[in-house]
């Protein structure tokens, strides 16, 4: 019932809010999209839907969605380009998927969300200024505990730390500052922008690392190695035994 009400509100909203001054053309397009896809959880003008009557969702946030007042273009761009949002079920961990919006629509939504308050803009990382070696150190220190040292992802309590194969430099820079889902947020005092460039340089490198030694079976160590040892080597050798040990009837 409440959802329906919200939907009705959402449909009624564009005409009511279009009078809002100071919104550019882009943000106005975004406003329409917001009303259609985001408002039911994030509320009117990003005020959030956090009433206590709603079940606990992601990270024990009561209600459907957190307020977006000062999250800024940075967070909106991250959640939309990764396809984390819109999220079908607020109880689920958002996963990297293809966004239902095209580039123009995302830009419009980002502009609209940015208009809510004084959040940070979309960052411009410079991985080319970073150092892969420094990046490995920093990544091992801050990130590998969850994302695995070659960024192949892993299990953390009740969630996936996703592999970073598809993460773009901008998305990595955003994620570090946003701390989506269970990930901690890193302030500039913890990871400076220069350090971030090195981390991004390393993650970019880790997408196609030095694969000396042949077929790289996943780069996660012993589990796939054990599979190869049994399913290829042991099977081949048992096969050899069967062939060599075959009875020769005279």
């Amino acid at each position: 019932m409440r959802r329906l009400l919200l939907l009705a509100l959402a449909l009624a909203l564009p005409s009511a809010a279009s009078a809002q001054p100071g919104l550019g053309v882009k943000a106005k397009t975004g406003q329409g999209l917001y009303a259609e896809h985001c408002l039911s959880c994030h509320g009117v003008d990003g005020s959030g839907v956090t009433s206590a009557s709603h079940p606990r969702g992601v990270l024990d946030v009561r209600g459907l969605g957190p307020p977006l007042k000062d999250v800024g273009a940075l967070a909106a761009d991250f959640y939309l380009t990764t396809g984390y949002m819109p999220l079908e079920d607020p109880h689920e961990q958002p996963r990297h998927t293809k966004s239902p919006f095209d580039k123009r629509e995302i830009a419009a939504l980002v502009a609209y969300v940015a208009s809510f308050g004084k959040g940070p803009p979309v960052p411009t990382p410079h991985p080319e200024r970073g150092d892969v070696s420094v990046g490995l150190s920093l990544f091992t220190e801050h990130c590998a505990g969850c994302h695995q040292v070659v960024a192949e992802g892993g299990y953390v309590t009740n969630a996936v730390a996703p592999p970073l194969h598809e993460a773009t430099p901008v998305q990595i820079a955003e994620a570090v500052r946003v701390g989506p889902y269970l990930m901690p947020r890193f302030e500039k005092s913890q990871i400076s922008d220069a350090q971030l460039d090195s981390i991004i340089a390393y993650v970019q490198w880790a997408k196609h690392p030095d694969d000396r030694g042949g077929w790289s079976i996943g780069r996660i160590g012993p589990v796939p190695e054990g599979l190869v040892a049994w399913l290829i080597a042991a099977v081949a050798l048992v096969g050899c035994c069967v062939v060599i040990g075959r009875r020769v009837r005279q």
């Binding site: 892969v132 070696s133 420094v134 990046g135 490995l136 150190s137 091992t140 220190e141 590998a144 505990g145 969850c146 994302h147 695995q148 040292v149 070659v150 192949e152 992802g153 892993g154 299990y155 953390v156 009740n158 996936v160 730390a161 592999p163 390393y202 490198w205 690392p209 030095d210 694969d211 000396r212 030694g213 042949g214 077929w215 790289s216 079976i217 780069r219 996660i220 160590g221 012993p222 589990v223 190695e225 054990g226 190869v228 040892a229 049994w230 290829i232 080597a233 042991a234 081949a236 050798l237 048992v238 050899c240 035994c241 069967v242 060599i244 040990g245 075959r246 009875r247 020769v248």
Partner: protein
């Protein structure tokens, strides 16, 4: 067979060689015996040989690695060509392992082949042991041989763990941290034991590295080689076992092919097959890319760190055991790591060591057993073995549950609970199903024989004795 022996005696090369040796050592009778030693014929008898030849490859590649590996924890900085590590502080051990992979000619091939061989070594021992168990080959007079083999398995596990640990990459360090905690968890003596081995609280003194190194490249290989020699001596002294396949095969008489000219070429072929498989893997499939893991520094870690497969059952056990400590007041008598990391493997190996004794007690057979059972011939033994195997296997699978979660999205916690149930249910199911299956096989065989006889009688032929 007679003709084969004649041709052996006619072989000029062999004759010359035997004479050469005999004139200088008087070993012709022994050589003659060895050449005439009879190998019974079944593919599964070759599994132990696969383990033997894998060990040979391990020793060979291992020797090559010792020429370049420096087992030192001294601190150094990497200044080689590999960009992501440049300028990193690391131990000399890790740097030499990276250099050995990147700079030494055939170094990476040897390192990878060595590691694959370690994985395959334990796999082939396990397969060999399964064959020995399910055919009852561990019975007197081969129980001693069985104990030696089992002890070699224990040493092989330890040897593999040390090899994994010596390199001092990120995974090594995490593996050692787990080993340290498990040793610490032994009630009463754990802390002292760990200090004794490590020399100081984790990560231990520099001496610990030389201890690991000496154990890995000298003590354990020598121990394994000695036990291996004894194992083979006992096999030859009491002869191979065999299946009852024809009327000629009896408890007293071995039927098979002699070493020369029949068996030796086959065995040589098997050696080449083992070498080919291991070197192909070493050259074509990446294993333990230590340069990707980076060096270990205390308190660092990576998600999804795993031991090599043959210790996966212990990681699985550590994960499955519920959060249970035994405490007296403030004193923790038995920390959680003890159950999965120490008690579980002790229990499994105790059961395995007890197998010959338990079998004697259960069957009341105290005599010599030179003929093998087919698994179906001993339904209870086969069923109990299947249950034990299923138990360890479920726990082994649980060790990979985090990777299953990441790859297939099956909830980790759900998996743990499924495994916690399966740990009890699957062994029981394996026991019942295997026993039924064995009995059904026996029954169908019996019916087949009756039908054959009846058909023969219907055709008016006399009931015939089986011809072979």
């Amino acid at each position: 067979m007679g003709r084969a022996l004649e041709s052996a005696e006619e072989s000029v090369v062999i004759r010359g060689l035997v004479r050469f040796l005999d004139e200088r050592s008087g070993t012709a009778p022994f050589v003659k015996k060895a050449l005439r030693y009879v190998f019974p014929d079944h593919w599964s008898f070759l599994l132990g040989e696969v383990a033997l030849y894998t060990f040979v490859i391990l020793v060979g590649t291992g020797i090559y690695l010792t020429f370049f590996f420096e087992p030192s924890t001294a601190s150094t900085y990497y200044a080689g060509h590999y960009a992501p590590l440049r300028g990193h502080e690391m131990s000399v051990a890790y740097r030499s392992a990276v250099d050995l992979s990147f700079k030494v000619r055939a170094g990476l091939l040897m390192r990878q082949t060595h590691h694959w061989a370690a994985d395959v070594f334990v796999a082939s021992i396990v397969l060999h042991m399964l064959r020995v168990f399910f055919t009852g080959a561990f019975r007197k007079p081969r129980d001693l041989t069985y104990y030696l083999g089992l002890t070699m398995l224990v040493f092989a596990l330890l040897e593999g763990y040390l090899g994994y640990s010596l390199v001092d990459d990120l995974l090594s360090g995490m593996g050692l941290a787990i080993g340290y905690s498990v040793l610490m968890s032994v009630p009463f003596v754990g802390a002292n034991l760990a200090l004794l081995v490590w020399g100081a609280p984790f990560p231990g003194k520099a001496e610990f590295w030389s201890r690991m190194y000496v154990a890995h490249v000298f003590l354990l290989p020598i121990l394994i080689a000695t036990l291996l020699a004894l194992h083979l001596f006992l096999v030859a002294a009491r002869h191979h076992t065999q299946f009852r396949e024809s009327r000629r095969t009896t408890e007293k008489k071995v039927v098979g092919i002699p070493t020369f000219p029949g068996y030796a070429p086959r065995s040589l072929g098997l050696f080449f097959s083992v070498a080919a498989v291991l070197f192909l893997l070493g050259g074509l499939v990446q294993i333990n890319p230590i340069w990707l893991w980076g060096p270990y520094h205390i308190a660092q870690g990576t998600n999804g760190a795993q031991p090599d497969w043959y210790l996966g059952w212990l990681i699985g056990a550590l994960r499955l055991v519920p959060n249970l400590d035994v405490t007296i007041g403030d004193y923790t008598l038995v920390p959680n790591a003890f159950w999965g990391g120490a008690l579980f493997p002790l229990l499994v190996f105790m059961l395995l060591y007890l197998v010959p004794w338990l079998d004697r007690r259960a069957t009341g057979e105290y005599g010599f057993r030179n003929l093998l059972d087919r698994p179906r011939d001993a339904p209870w033994r086969t069923a109990l073995g299947a249950a034990l195997f299923a138990w360890v296997f479920v726990i082994f699978l649980a060790g990979a549950s985090d990777r299953v979660f990441v790859s297939f999205g099956i909830s980790y916690v759900a998996q743990l609970w499924i495994y916690r149930v399966l740990v009890f249910v699957l062994p029981l199911a394996a026991l019942i199903v295997t026993r039924r299956f064995c009995l059904a096989l026996q029954e169908s065989e019996r019916l087949g024989q009756i039908r054959k006889q009846a058909e023969a009688e219907a055709r008016g032929e006399l009931p015939q004795t089986e011809q072979l």
